[in-house]
């Protein structure tokens, strides 16, 4: 199915559901369509500007170019989803922003990673520690391993605020109890004294979120926060994200490969492939009018309840080897529309709208002419 057909399909379901409801959010709980999202204000102030970020790792087998020039901005109060398949560099991107890439074996270079006008790339480890957990927090994928099994929940919650905000134990405890209530843990007072193994997976993820939020960060990087959870818990955690964002106005970078999650909470989407962002746009642009063949392939490989008949269409082939990435478009080898030029030269970025950008030769005016002539008709 092409992006056009998908968009038509989606707009049809929108007409049936009523204008206020986002038709993409079809995962609805208890059979009904998810309620319209609370109005949030996304300001025009940029909180994070990543410019041409490269990350490489030296290994015995050679140098892996995990991230190959990633550029994106994040606005205050916005949720940006970075999607892509395993190994495309999305986690490495977030670790690099967060200062969690060990150097060596890692190597980071960029034209700047600006967080509120401070260049994170230039900070020393010590200066970075004053930002980690305070201004930028991170939520990890697996709540079963992200909490230290030998320390109480209370200690893991409080150590950050105690160190960064110089709170007394009593103040820190008060704050910790507030946070546990915010993330919906009953009896926070009692629960503080317990150890991680005394909580279920969903509860632990709530605690991880509470730990990330306790110093009131302005940016939250969530690295596959729902992947390790079962589906019912996933929905609860996503709702918690939305609730927290509307309460605190925190900006979120959501790393995921789950398009259902993206559809639920993202404002803007960046699609990553082989260490590059190949398409960005707001949610509607990406879901209704995907321009890059990879994005289209990604969308048509997602199972949908509302489209009967037809099979899932996986994308044939595998991503390129990042030890020696191709000089042209990395998707060319798997792309049904690939042209000679795609294999040789990486395409320039085309701006489809203020928010929608895509790196693809099909956007070139010469290719557009061919499309009109029907060269790519299938």
């Amino acid at each position: 199915m092409t992006g056009k057909q998908l968009a038509d399909e989606l707009s049809r379901s929108r007409l049936e559901d009523g204008a206020e409801v986002d038709p993409v959010l079809h995962e609805g709980k208890r059979g009904k369509i998810v309620s319209p999202k609370k109005k949030r204000t996304i300001s025009s102030e940029k909180i994070l500007e990543v410019d041409d970020l490269h990350v490489t790792f030296s290994t015995y087998g050679g140098t892996v170019q995990a991230v190959r020039g990633v550029t994106f901005d994040l606005y205050k109060g916005e949720t940006l989803a970075i999607v892509g398949e395993s190994g495309c560099g999305k986690s490495v991107t977030s670790n690099a922003i967060m200062g969690l890439v060990e150097q060596p074996p890692g190597k980071i270079s960029s034209k700047g990673v600006h967080f509120k006008s401070r260049n994170l790339a230039k900070l020393s480890k010590k200066e970075m520690r004053k930002i980690q957990g305070v201004d930028i927090s991170m939520i990890f994928q697996d709540p079963m391993t992200a909490l230290n099994p030998t320390l109480t929940i209370g200690e893991q919650l409080m150590e950050g605020v105690k160190q960064h905000k110089n709170l007394s134990s009593a103040e820190a405890k008060k704050r910790a109890i507030e946070m546990l209530s915010l993330v919906g843990i009953p009896n926070p007072d009692e629960r503080l004294k317990q150890y991680p193994h005394q909580f279920s997976g969903g509860m632990r993820q709530r605690i991880v979120i509470a730990i990330a939020l306790i110093c009131e960060p302005e940016l939250l990087i969530a690295d596959e926060p729902t992947t390790a959870l079962d589906v019912t818990i996933q929905a609860q955690i996503l709702e918690l994200f939305e609730e927290i964002q509307s309460k605190t106005g925190v900006s979120i970078i959501l790393i995921t490969h789950d398009l259902g999650v993206v559809a639920k909470i993202a404002d803007r989407i960046a699609v990553m492939y082989a260490g590059k962002i190949i398409e960005t746009g707001n949610k509607r642009e990406i879901f209704y009018t995907p321009q890059h063949p990879y994005t289209q392939g990604l969308l048509s490989s997602v199972p949908r309840l509302d489209l009967t008949g037809g099979e899932l269409k996986p994308i044939d082939g595998t991503p390129p080897d990042l030890f020696s990435p191709p000089s042209g478009c990395p998707f060319a080898a798997r792309c049904p529309f690939a042209m000679e030029v795609c294999r040789e030269v990486y395409p320039a970025t085309t701006e489809k709208s203020d928010t929608h950008r895509v790196d693809c030769w099909l956007q070139d005016s010469r290719a557009q002419k061919l499309i009109e002539e029907g060269a790519f008709a299938r």
Binding site: G133, V134, S137, F140, A146, N148, E159, Y195, H197, V208
Partner: protein, 311 residues
Amino acid sequence: MAMYIFKRFWMMLATIFIIATLTFFLMHAVPGSPLEAERTTNETIQANLEKFYKLDQPLHIQYFDYMKSIATFDFGPSIKDPNRTVNELLERGFPISFELGIITILVAVISGILLGTLAALRHNKMIDYAAMAFAVIGISIPNFVLATLLIQQLAVTWGIFPPATWKSPMHMVLPVLALATGPMAIIARLTRSSMLEVLTQDYIKMARAKGIKPIRIVLRHALRNALMPVVTIMGTLLAGILTGTFVIEKIFAIPGMGKYFVDSINNRDYPVIMGTTVFYSAFLIFMLFLVDIVYGLLDPRIKLHKKEGDV
């Protein structure tokens, strides 16, 4: 917890009972007797002596007498040295052996953990290689060889430390060094490998993402988890140190329990063998019990007070 200690107490008693029984029968299975001497004794005297020490009684009677002596913790006089009771020997020897053992354990544990942690934090750097080379040497050289080398170099050639006896802290350095090096090397290697593993865990990454100071990450987040395997092998190491004291006490002429223990076996001095064996095993069992308690303190997931299915 009280329930656990109560249960463990009875299990410890049962273990001691089994050890005592085994020792008794093994001891009597070994040819020879405490009254055998180089010169031939008059038969009547021999018979009288055997009667006095009740060695003429059937084995099971001797066994019950012996069990009674353990229960009352009164092992009677030594056969070779009738002026002293076994209890006196234990009272005199134990404090010295205990001192040697405890100092050795402390030195081995503290320096082993320190060395292992440093090696892990400087993984594949100079300190790591040096520490591990040292550890391999420490594991490979038996303590009695090390002891003689230390005496030769540090005491005889350089004269820094006294070569033998147990009188002042200076006297303690060489025996403790000889005895502690092996266990320390084992602990260092184990700490290093488990520390390296712990440092790659998600919760360490998460602590770093929280901006926690590195020193706190190591001490509070990593070390406690990394010490689990170390605590697990502490039981075996304790047994090793305990048996090591026999040899080391002999080499350094330290008047501890080890001397009596070894002598008593050579002499078939039944009461002393029984007394020292039971005492040693009781002590070791108690230390193992302490190790289990420490294990529970380190890892909250291990519940000692679980009602069913515990150890």
